[in-house]
């Protein structure tokens, strides 16, 4: 079944760690307005926090965009994190718990995948990273 995407309801430029905080707070507000449960709001806010931090840490700047998506009767919130940074050399390793090229815990990407319903990542060295995640309303 195809996914129908609506207009972007929120777009955040991510250039500093303060932007990470405001993106996750704004994301939580959108999720609450859509009727997500409190646990799901926390999962969405935490996912945005991880994705936005990756932008700051690895690419310096990028964007977080939120849009509403529909698939059949299901409605969801889609988060797209996009940057034009150095990209990821080994995607498979980056999706493994504990793998990190910095001093982080290496849980950001694999952890985010566990917190959302749909997870899609596209990256090539030198061509940035684009992560698309969706949380569906139950």
């Amino acid at each position: 079944m195809s996914t129908v995407e609506s207009d972007i309801v929120m777009a955040c430029q991510i250039t500093s760690d303060a932007d990470v905080v405001s993106a996750r707070q704004r994301g939580r507000t959108v999720a609450a307005d859509m009727g997500f449960s409190r646990p799901d709001q926390a999962l969405i806010a935490t996912s945005i926090s991880e994705l936005a931090r990756n932008i700051v840490n690895y690419a310096k700047t990028g964007t977080i965009e939120l849009s509403l998506v529909d698939r059949g009767r299901k409605r969801g919130l889609q988060v797209v994190a996009n940057d034009n940074g150095p990209g990821i050399e080994n995607l498979e390793a980056a999706m493994t718990d504990g793998f990190s090229t910095t001093r982080s815990l290496g849980l950001g990407l694999p952890g985010t995948r566990r917190m959302v319903d749909d997870f899609h990542i596209v990256s090539e060295p030198g061509k940035g990273v684009r992560v698309t995640v969706v949380k569906w309303l139950h």
């Binding site: 905080v21 996750r24 939580r28 999962l43 926090s49 991880e50 982080s104 815990l105 849980l107 917190m115």
Partner: protein, 120 residues
């Protein structure tokens, strides 16, 4: 903008209440301020109240864990109190569980764990 978080003292125990809008660099400032204070007053225990946080992501959790580890090397004990239910669930999914850090339901329980009676 830098946010400073006050560190309260009760006897040899320090109490710090972390607020939600803290960025990564703010959190590192809290870490530094708190460790300075632990050393300067020879604290025997630290209670970190995170009940105001509605997100505790990988960086936040690692910072808490680092703080607790540093304080332990100083011979003092750290208790993290007030992790919200929703936050706890997202931490588990992220793969974060603070295995070597004491946790308690609230400030009072945290103080009790340190052998202190909390005077409100």
């Amino acid at each position: 903008m830098t946010i400073r978080v006050p560190v309260l003292q009760q006897g040899k125990v320090l109490i710090v209440s972390v607020q939600d809008a803290l960025s990564d660099s703010d959190l590192l400032n809290v870490q530094q301020d708190l460790l300075d204070k632990v050393f300067s007053v020879n604290a025997t225990g630290v209670v970190i109240d995170v009940s105001a946080l509605d997100v505790l992501d990988s960086f936040g959790t690692r910072t808490l864990s680092d703080i607790a580890a540093a304080i332990q090397l100083r011979g003092a004990k750290t208790v993290i109190v007030g992790i919200q239910a929703d936050v706890a669930m997202s931490m588990v999914l992220l793969g974060l569980s603070l295995p070597r850090v004491a946790t308690a339901l609230d400030l009072e329980a945290g103080m009790a764990l340190l052998g202190q009676r909390h005077v409100a």
